[in-house]
């Protein structure tokens, strides 16, 4: 089956005032498949957000190609179909909401596409229901918490029925309870709606939720695999400016001291269960 998104030899250079071009992406080859949950981590400036903006043609390659469902992002004719296929949710919930009520905000993209009113109603209701904000349709967004605003932004993308949603650090401005609700929603969309999910994050705990993890460094993908495999090389992660999730770090230390633990422990629950079953 052809991948949902295919990237070949992608380079992107920015030119700053000094006139020296800086390669934000320096040769990316990547296939993203239907239904995958892909985490992207990397230090500040490694190119994560630049890559994200290539996934639905918000940026054009300096060289190389990005294909979405067989359409080339550089092709102006296909731009709106590509953006309907791949939705984006950004970091700051306040800069993504445009309308005076929650439902108008969620309907915004559909109205621009000229979807019939009855279908807009149905899609908006379904999207708000999916993110758990069914009772909030007529509220003004500015009265919502940061986490709720982020859920409204997700509903707005969801109403477009995209095949893929790219989340660019969606929780970094949220408090722990808002963060938990947003992450639960992201996981649910991936498992129940089979939405292909790309999650860019600074939190290794969040990265551990993905089925496949990409590590970026200086505009390149330097590791690509299941989180357990990536976390098995803590020294390499640290040299790339990254950390292990706390539970994984505890497990690595215990294993180093001779405690017989399996190599793939990631959650507090698994860790507690395994420790308690160790023969004593």
């Amino acid at each position: 089956m052809q991948p949902l998104i295919r990237i070949r030899a992608l380079r992107h250079t920015y030119v700053f005032d000094a006139g020296v071009p800086i390669a934000a992406l320096d040769g990316i080859d990547l296939d993203l498949h239907h239904g995958e949950f892909v985490g992207i981590v990397g230090p500040n400036g490694s190119g994560k957000s630049t890559l994200a903006q290539h996934l639905n043609g918000l940026l054009m390659p300096t060289s190389g190609e990005v294909w979405v469902s067989g359409m080339l992002t550089a092709e102006p004719r296909d731009r709106w179909r590509i953006r309907q296929q791949v939705g984006m949710v950004f970091q700051n919930p306040d800069s993504q909401l445009v309308a005076s009520t929650v439902e108008e905000d969620v309907a915004f993209g559909l109205e621009n596409l000229g979807v019939p009113p009855a279908e807009i109603r149905a899609r908006v209701d379904a999207a708000l229901d999916a993110v758990g904000l069914a009772g909030y349709a007529t509220r003004p967004p500015y009265l919502l918490s940061g986490g709720q605003k982020q859920l409204v932004a997700i509903a707005g993308v969801l109403a477009m029925q995209p095949a893929c949603i790219v989340f660019d650090e969606p929780t970094s401005m949220l408090d722990p309870s808002g963060r938990e609700r947003v992450l639960d929603t992201i996981k649910m969309l991936n498992t129940e709606h089979e939405t292909t999910t790309i999650l860019i994050t600074q939190s290794m705990e969040e990265a551990a939720l993905a089925g496949r993890l990409l590590v970026m460094h200086r505009g390149r993908i330097v590791a690509d695999g299941p989180p357990t495999r990536i976390f098995a090389e803590p020294a390499r992660l640290r040299s790339l400016g990254l950390d292990l999730p706390p539970v994984v770090e505890i497990a690595h230390r215990l294993v180093g001291w001779g405690v017989p633990l399996p190599p793939d422990l990631q959650t507090v629950d698994d860790m507690a269960r395994v420790l308690c079953t160790l023969s004593s």
């Binding site: 500040n44 949220l174 706390p246």
Partner: protein, 288 residues
Amino acid sequence: MHIELLGVSHTYNAGTPLSHMALHGIDLAISPGERIGILGPTGSGKSTLAQILAGLLVPTAGKVRLDDVVLRTRSSRTRSRRRRIGLALQYPEEQIFEQTVFREVAFGPKRLRLPRAEVEQRVHWALNRVGLPPETFAHRSPFTLSGGEMRRVALASVLSLRPDVLILDEPTAGLDPSGRRELLDLVNELHSETQCTLVIVSHDLGQIVRVVDRAAILNAGQIIADGPVRAVLSDRQTLANAGLSAPAPVVLLHRLEAAGWPVQTDRVLPEEAAAEIYRAWQARGGRP
């Protein structure tokens, strides 16, 4: 400087239909040189409290005392005290506007009408202090720097005012793990060098223990816990009441304690928790 808040409440838009009480009856005393974290969810009043502590906002009720001076608007004594407090807001790099790093960091000291030599000396000290050597960075445009470097320029701008009290609102938000660690190391070095009072507002509970000794939890405008940082961070019930979750190592230790393991639950950092679990594992007869 000794800071004391007595019965402080703050209501935004008081007397209008949009009236909103952000802080309610806060009593808080912070001693000179103390390192305290103010923790709480979004909307708990953290940033309002930070602005009141910095003297930027005069509360609608209650008293703020800095040493022997009760803060009032427009008094010269208030102004002179306030100058000794430095506040770095959330995402401070968004407020950078000068064309060079030097001018950005010099902005505050120039407004204090300090002699030029002193301004220069302070800028150099502050840039060195945040790990941006002036010979390399002073003449660069702040906008060509990385996110972590811009954050440090913003911090240097506050440091150049030589505050006795440094208030940082979410200092590590948006930084990558190594940037976060570098910034916290920097704050620690700064504290041991200058002995300034440190107030750190945050909802990143996993790392705060690296930089503060005391923590207060704010929820719906009230302080619901205040004590040694490890005790506060291992009190899962109080954290949950405030909509915060305990750091993962603490949750794991609580789980083991409930299963009968002889563990202390206040080991907040992964390395501390690992050592504690290893000790308990051996006490239960585990042998490597």
